[in-house]
């Protein structure tokens, strides 16, 4: 009896930390991510991510292939938004070989990239809610909209997810007028869906309680850890490569950059919703301005569509970057004048955004770790490439 009483006295308690292995097979790790968490009670004391369960040798394979052949591999980096990945890679090679892109192809590229942003943000919010415990209901709404956009991708490129649509100096297939009409309809109806989505979620008490003041990422830390994308903007840093770099024809469109205030999970969620509104604005303008006819691939690159192995960029290096939905996606390519790149490197945004995970999770409960991980928006294909 004496022992029990002494155990109730907190000063006499001798507690131990608990080590938890989390993943790689876990429904909330968004794939095969693994974390070693040390808990004191329910509070996270240390968190070590273990990566590499999906390391598919993307860079090594690409260095042994012709330039055009690694385009389909970029689809499989971040498998939610293959079009943005194609965009980044083709920008890098176009910079390397000094290729101009025709007007119409530029517009098609921007339309496709913004559609992927809608797909990505909508699904990410669905999965974030999944992690919060609203099991599969928001995902059903999100995937309903996603399927509509995937239909367009399929009609344009022939594949639902792995589009492989971009080519150096343009795009592969023509975009028919009726598809443009359908995109216009989607753009018209999407705000209504977002309204519905927001009405269900944004002021939901459970979502607010679980997300606000959780996983706060201060401005300075975000900048020094080179975080990019919606995560950085949720912390209040005005940095969007579409504005900073004005690659492709992004300089022509009017849109604003939504910024968060605190940098907690709720801000990250809400920045994504606002970004979708801005994407719709860009889509609206692009669909209005797109020339009715025009080349799809620049004349310089047209012969290489049939014989991609003869494409040999001059010796040099290039870094092409885009604002992918997850952050700055960069491709660094070094050419040595042969059909294969000498060096090929991917700056994967979700990999770099993941490095800050421990700092955000420390001191929070273990249930919040899942929410914070969900708000980082990782895709394991890109993390491990």
């Amino acid at each position: 009896m004496e022992k029990i009483f002494s155990a109730r006295d907190p000063s006499a308690l001798n507690t131990e930390t608990l080590e938890i292995n989390f993943g790689p097979q876990h429904p909330s790790t968004h794939g095969v991510f693994r974390m070693n968490i040390v808990c004191d009670g329910e509070t996270v004391v240390s968190l070590k991510p273990v990566m590499g369960y999906l390391h598919r040798n993307h860079e090594q394979i690409a260095e042994n292939m012709s330039y055009a052949a690694s385009m389909p591999y970029t689809d499989r980096l971040d498998y939610f938004n293959s079009m943005s990945n194609n965009f980044g890679y083709s920008l890098a090679v176009e910079k390397l070989a000094n290729i101009e892109v025709p007007e119409r192809a530029q517009y098609i590229r921007v339309i496709m990239a913004e559609l992927t942003r809608l797909v990505n943000h909508v699904s990410v919010i669905g999965f974030l809610l999944n992690d919060l415990g609203a099991f599969f209901t928001p995902v059903l709404y999100a995937f309903r909209e996603r399927e509509k956009i995937l239909d367009i991708f399929e009609e344009v490129s022939g594949a639902r997810m792995m589009c492989n649509y971009f080519r150096f100096g343009g795009v592969k297939y023509e975009i028919q007028p009726h598809i443009l009409q359908r995109i216009k309809e989607i753009v018209k109806k999407f705000p209504k869906f977002l309204e519905e989505f927001e009405a269900l979620l944004s002021k939901n008490e459970i979502l607010c309680m679980r997300c606000q003041n959780v996983g706060v990422l201060p401005k300075e830390l975000a900048v020094s850890a080179s975080i990019t994308g919606p995560m950085l903007r949720a912390s209040g840093v005005d940095y969007d490569i579409r504005k900073v770099d004005k690659y492709s024809i992004y300089g022509r469109f009017k849109f604003r950059i939504p910024l968060g205030e605190k940098g907690d999970v709720y801000d990250r969620y809400y920045v994504r919703i606002l970004e979708m509104h801005e994407s719709l604005k860009i889509l609206d303008q692009a669909l209005k301005d797109i020339p009715a006819t025009g080349e799809l691939v620049s004349k310089k690159m047209a012969p290489f569509l049939k014989s991609p192995r003869n494409f040999k960029p001059p010796v040099g290096e290039a870094y092409g970057r885009v604002e992918a939905p997850k952050g700055e996606l960069g491709f660094y390519v070094v050419s040595d004048g042969t059909p294969q790149p000498w060096r090929y490197h991917v700056r994967a945004p979700s990999f770099i955004n993941l490095t800050i995970l421990e700092d955000m999770c420390l001191g929070h409960k273990i249930a919040d770790v899942i929410v914070i991980l969900g708000s980082v928006d990782i895709v394991l294909g890109e993390v491990d490439h």
């Binding site: 095969v32 590499g52 369960y53 040798n57 499989r76 995937f143 997810m161 040999k312 960029p313 070094v334």
Partner: protein, 250 residues
């Protein structure tokens, strides 16, 4: 895997005749298989790209619930079906085999996508397993990169056909001496040890890949880095995109 049609001993004509009167005649096998195939619980286990298509199959448009397989269980102990959806790397393969061992009988496996069948586009990678069927037995292979949701539904229907062909007397998991736990490979310095599981898969004597596609095309080892510091004019004049206006067709 060959299907065996599970023929009922009851005459078909008599059955339909009785059915009109409201009497249902069924063998125990039929009932047993009907129950099992209409409530396959898959494991919620996504590896890579194909997992997204698996989620899309579970969502509104494709709605895997029509086939009774909507209840994705995160725990292998509660699931009947493992959908290996995505690239299996050498680091992940021991986990996949371990999960398979943890599943309760009867258990089935669908490989979804080219990667889990044979390595797919990543077959040349040093870290990618050339097919999970080297370690665990597979019931249905689903090719595609990734397979469409319809393909996954078709694969599920094929699995249901397979379940329909099983009988209680002959099913493996009621027999004596059933061995359904397979050795978990270890990640050694030179890949996985053992390299394959001879009970499930053994390397073929003929190299079909070589037979079909010929010798692999080697680019030649590159060991000299390009000199990027040299001014552009001094660089070796490679047949650049600008100069090669008409590439030869060879």
């Amino acid at each position: 895997m060959a299907f065996t049609e599970n023929l009922s001993s009851v005459d078909g004509g008599l059955k339909s005749e009785l059915g009109k009167k409201g009497i249902v005649v069924a063998t125990l096998n039929e009932l047993y298989n009907w129950g099992r195939r209409s409530s396959i619980w898959p494991m919620q286990f996504g590896l890579a790209c194909c997992a997204i298509e698996m989620i899309a199959t579970a969502c509104a448009r494709y709605d895997i619930a029509r086939f009774g397989a909507e209840l994705f269980r995160p725990s292998p102990r509660q699931s009947d079906l493992m959908i290996v959806a995505g690239t299996v790397t050498k680091k992940m393969a021991p986990q996949v085999v371990r999960l398979y061992n943890q599943m309760a009988e009867p258990k089935y496996v669908i490989t979804m996508g080219a990667c889990s069948i044979a390595g797919g586009p990543f077959i040349d990678g040093y870290n990618v397993l050339r097919g999970i069927d080297r370690y665990i037995p597979i019931d249905v292979h689903l090719p595609g990169c990734p397979p469409r949701p319809e393909a996954l539904l078709y694969g599920l229907m094929e699995l249901q056909r397979k379940i329909d062909g099983q009988t209680i007397e002959k099913t493996e998991w009621y027999q004596k001496g059933l061995k359904r736990e397979y050795p978990v490979p270890e990640c050694g310095p030179h890949g996985l040890i053992p390299k394959f599981n001879p009970e499930v898969w053994a390397p073929r004597e003929v190299d079909h890949r070589k037979e079909r596609y010929g010798e692999p095309v080697l680019i030649g080892k590159k060991d000299k880095a390009p000199n990027l510091d040299a001014p552009v004019a001094a660089r070796p004049a490679a047949t650049s995109a600008s100069s090669a206006s008409q590439p030869s067709a060879s």
